[in-house]
Amino acid sequence: MTTPPDLLYSEPEDDLRAAVRALLTDRADLPAALTRAESGDPYDPALWTSLTAGIGVAGLLVPESLGGQGAGHREAAVVLEELGRAVTPAPYLTSSVTATATLLACDADSPDIAGLLTALAEGRRVAVLALPFGTAPDSPLPVGADPVRGVADAVRADVLLVPRQDGLYAVETASPAVTVEPLTPLDLTRPLAAVTVDPGAGLRIAAAPVAGSAVRAGLLAGAGLLASEQLGIAEWCLEESVRHTKDRHQFNRPLGSFQALKHRMAQLWLEVVSARAAARAAADALATGSPDAPLAVALAQAYCGPVAVHAAEECVQLHGGIGMTWEHPAHLALKRAKSDATALGSTGRHKEALAALTDLPAPG
């Protein structure tokens, strides 16, 4: 048997969690997210500065020599748990994880990439992959689509990473060669856009074979750590459901004393603790560069996506009529959870990836 993954949280990870949670509790609770989403621009630039320049979360994957924190995927996963709990509108998954991991898998020492990585690590700039948000790590890249629909956080990006036949290009969104047209997303807290980039625009930062594997590495890191965001969403939904059903009385008893409801929440708790093990295994496999990483990521995605959706659906239902209102933030979690279940590859896609990795073939 190989060495098992480290599934616990280290003390520095606990400290990081406490710092991020304190900031989000203070500055970005769910009602605040709702207010901002309604304003048409869900992002809070001051919050992003506090997260990145203040706590340094954007540079966790980036080596210190490039201006990052030189930490790793385990730490970034803890940040995503917290961002998931608060359904925070921030381009963390897209820029600080997926785009950053893509650039790190290119020649990170080349001056162009190093400079961009430093800017991303410091939170001064935001980069996103110009791919539909549903793209799985093992899917063929849809290069040459025009426009590319469903690019997450493109409206907030300074730089697009554009995969083309002959390599990966960095294109400034401010350039006249780029059009970013906002779409109306199911998840109000993670904007989607249709992106058009003139052919030939931008700077080629990786040639074809490297570009393909680098994009896949970025998508793998994104999918693996998305599981931690899903864990955070599920945790918040369970805690809110428990809190509400303890307080709310019907039929002269607290709702939470009814066995039918208790069993549903206990079941959800089982799913949440299991999702935690799966998400930690994926983060650890990515952090250690384990050859098991594609399997650990597919496993975490196949499990955690449905758990977050189930938790959010239960949260709405257990809140009854209150859960159905725009005013109560449960819908933000539901919309994020349901979108996340398609993001970076659907549950079914990840199960197929697992089947290939574990030799469980389809009927002939």
Partner: protein, 395 residues
């Protein structure tokens, strides 16, 4: 302070004094107990050294390397997992000295006389009576117990019985150590839906138990029993497994080796269960890492629930996957196995036996209540049996 180095020295001394090649199995185990190397976290003189439990692996590895015989934790599971920790916590010095050594060595097998035909999940409703004989001070026990594994092999039993029916049900119970060879103890095999008699019914008629075999105070049996039950729940479902090490492994192997059995519908179920089994394995590994790190979390209380459901679903899938072969069963002859062995059996047996996984050691419904109340802090349902004398409760 005991450390790993000192323990290695003690193991070497034990091996030198009792070379495994020239020492009988039981004699070696007794010597190991006397050297304090049986269960390190137990007190000196009772098989331990008051040492941290985490160091046990040092001793076990050293003894295994020397080819020393081990006691058989599976065969003596109830004694080791339930009777011993309860005797350690509530027993008198005489009781500890009398019972722990033969229990650990396996000279004396234990069984557990808790459940009754009318008291399963509502265990505190039990009706077996223990009445004090004023002349001798002995207790005279009458009643019926059920689902008693190993009773036909057991020398001793842990027993709870009602000693005061005028008190509310949790308060009138007392805990005893019962000699299974006493006249009045009758063990009958209880045949289950698998065809086997893995458990027993135990009839107690005028069984005389000396007061010296009472464990804990009169009327305090429920608190004592809770120690036993907590240890039972810890011991079920905590084994460390490799990937595909549980029942999912058998199904996955059949899938790979028998392409003619594959259908699309079965594959979807197989993939879902493969994911859930692997995640359950990681969850158990996480619990294990928490224990090693000295940070036990509540996650362990969910493992039994997860494994029970998975065993049932996977074994159900396996019967269907096997098609015509799944229609066959190995043998309906009534047997009395000493151990439950899922891995060495066929799919039909696994399917049928796994139905017990969500009942034995606490039904899944009761365990979900425990998670909801103790972990999530949800309120209990209203109860009307707590302040009523047991004799006045509806039965």
């Amino acid at each position: 302070m005991t450390d790993a180095t000192e323990l290695r020295t003690r193991v070497a001394e034990l091996i030198a004094a009792h070379p495994p090649s020239g020492t009988g199995r039981d004699d070696f185990l007794r010597a190991r107990f006397d050297a304090g190397l049986a269960w390190l976290h137990y007190p000196q003189g009772l098989g331990g050294l008051d040492a941290p439990r985490s160091l046990q692996s040092v001793v076990d590895a050293g003894l295994a390397a020397a080819g020393a015989p081990d006691n058989d934790p599976r065969r003596i599971g109830i004694g080791l997992g339930m009777a011993a920790p309860t005797i350690l916590r509530y027993g008198t010095q005489e009781q500890k000295e009398r019972f722990l050594r033969p229990l650990w060595v396996g000279d004396e097998v234990w069984c557990q006389l808790f459940s009754e035909p009318g008291a399963g999940s509502d265990l505190a409703a039990l009706a077996t009576r223990a009445v004090r004989d004023q002349a001798s001070g002995d207790w005279i026990v009458d009643g019926q117990k059920v689902w008693t594994s190993s009773a036909h092999l057991a020398r001793w039993a842990i027993l709870i019985a009602r000693t005061d029916p005028t008190l509310p049900k949790h308060r009138g119970i007392t805990y005893f150590l019962c000699d299974m060879t006493d006249p009045g103890v009758e063990v009958r095999p209880l045949r289950q839906l698998t065809g086997e008699a893995e458990f027993n019914e135990v009839f107690l008629t005028g069984v005389r138990i000396p007061d010296a075999h009472r464990l804990g105070g009169i009327g305090e049996g429920w608190q004592v029993a809770r120690t036993t039950l907590m240890n039972e729940r810890v011991s079920i479902g905590g084994a460390r497994l490799p990937r595909e090490g549980g029942m999912i492994g058998a199904v996955a192997r059949t899938w790979r080796e028998r392409p003619e059995l594959r259908t699309h519908e079965l594959r979807q179920r197989l993939l879902t269960l493969w994911v859930e089994a692997e995640v359950a394995r990681l969850t158990a590994e996480r619990v294990r890492q928490q224990l090693v790190a000295g940070q036990p979390g509540p996650e362990g209380s969910g493992l039994k629930l997860s494994f029970a459901r998975l065993n049932q679903e996977i074994s159900g899938l396996e019967v269907e996957l096997l098609g015509d072969e799944g229609l066959l069963y190995s043998d309906w002859t009534m047997r009395r196995p000493e151990l439950v062995d899922f891995t060495g059996r066929d799919a039909g047996y696994r399917y049928l036996r796994s139905k017990g996984n969500s009942i034995e050691g606490g039904t899944s419904e009761v365990l979900l209540n425990i998670v909801a109340e103790r972990v999530l802090g949800l309120p209990s349902e209203p109860r009307d049996d707590k302040d009523v004398a047991w004799k006045d409760l509806a039965r």
